[in-house]
Symmetry: C2
Subunit: 320 residues, 2 copies
Amino acid sequence: MENRPTIENIRVAHQRIRPYIHKTPVLTCNALNEIVGANLFFKCENFQKVGAFKFRGACNTVFSLSNSEASRGVVTHSSGNHAAALALAARKRGISPRIVMPSNAPKVKIEAVKNYGGIITFCEPTLASRESTAAKVIEETGATMIHPFNDYRIIAGQGTAALELIEEIIDLDYILAPVGGGGLLSGTAITAKALKPTIKIIGCEPKNADDAYRSIKAGKIIPPDNPNTIADGLKTSLGNKTFPIIRELVDKIVLVTEEQIITAMRYIFERMKIIVEPSSAVAFAVLLSKKLNVTDKNVGIIISGGNVDFSKFFEGIRCK
Amino acid sequence: MENRPTIENIRVAHQRIRPYIHKTPVLTCNALNEIVGANLFFKCENFQKVGAFKFRGACNTVFSLSNSEASRGVVTHSSGNHAAALALAARKRGISPRIVMPSNAPKVKIEAVKNYGGIITFCEPTLASRESTAAKVIEETGATMIHPFNDYRIIAGQGTAALELIEEIIDLDYILAPVGGGGLLSGTAITAKALKPTIKIIGCEPKNADDAYRSIKAGKIIPPDNPNTIADGLKTSLGNKTFPIIRELVDKIVLVTEEQIITAMRYIFERMKIIVEPSSAVAFAVLLSKKLNVTDKNVGIIISGGNVDFSKFFEGIRCK
């Protein structure tokens, strides 16, 4: 895919991935509606396969490959949700998913990738080592590199979450999505602006990783400056494919503090009884922060994922 | 209500409480189906108002009171989910909920009861003090005492969860429910055996609080012997109203270890991305334990509640 995806491309992507993905539910919660003073619609990609929206993009990309490309497998050097998503998508197509991971990656992430059938090659925990190791894998196998967000097939896949959301809730005024590398946000914006141009698209970002906010302000990609946030999925820089889409179609980027992210996550745990990862809580944090006036509006929120490390929590329970 | 509830009473209860309760969803999870080798249907009362099935029974009881009874309010000396449920049910009817709580009750439980409008009277942390304080409240106000489980109106209310489950999933072979005081289990058994006598009803109990198991074996109520389980909702003894129903209609009581309960809770958190309290995990723990052969069967599981204290978890996140 050489051009920015259109809504038609996103519809095709949806048809392509439909046999493999979950159509995730849209949940509502009276208690949270009352707190915010708006009608909130949570598109729950935490219930997606591998526990994150990333499976949509990975699936679309893997099933877009030609047979001859596919036969040589796929490779990535992300160690988060994209790695697990790519591993599972490759397994669904019956091809080899090679995942380059730093040797110091958390055990829980290594296990997840292995569980989904990923073939792991460990590297040093530096970007240089990740890239050279991936290059070596490609040289040896001919595998196709699948970038976690800076790829139009990925962007088209991520846009299918908003497609389902808007088809189910027809009168949305806003859609909020977190922004890291920008795959989810740019896909969401293309879908929403094509289907209903009046929907306002809000990118939600941690103040401690505000590179997208600064990039939009500067009119060019500004890489993150030593980002330190619990929303670890949002530390990445925008890419040259996601940035122009976001600049053109996203109405606003709103920043939230770490405290606001944690409070939002806790509200969602305690009131909705669902598990969301910190990156997902960033969008609800924007609403709690009152930095965006959505009073009485219909607000869609894309809950991006639910992969939380509960090791310490369960150790704590055990100790009682 | 002077006699054991029938399915007709449970249907009437359902009509009575329907305007106030959530019709909770029945969730499925491929990953957990594969692990157990059966088709699991989780009736998610963790999404019920106040985060637990207890709201059904409290609501049925409060709305069963005559106007003159109701005008004098209601009282209980439970400090858990029943207290919150009674407080909210009373607020829905516009009457006073008086809750007797030990002075050393966890702050999170005190806050929950206050949030739902409960009027708290603190007492010493002994059963004698709880009972005498409640008696005093009744003397002063004429409020009606609402027992958390040993009351036919409560039992009928709790039976409505199984009613919704069986109406939605018509071909269940088993229903599993946790057993503490027995309100949920006895209501579930009455409903299921009336609607489909072939459904096997399994009571699920921690080994460390195995009083129901021992009571059934002995043919009389055996009080718990210093129960020590993380499933703190299941420490109570059966009552003289719940015991005969359970003895007659429940097919089996299966015990699980603390380790199995924690493992089950973690599976549900990590695979289903929903929050369940330890008492709820006990039923899934029975399936993981392989102490019950349900291979290829359709198994309903009543997830009783989702009120978990996450204070330490979020403090841990904050410290990073």
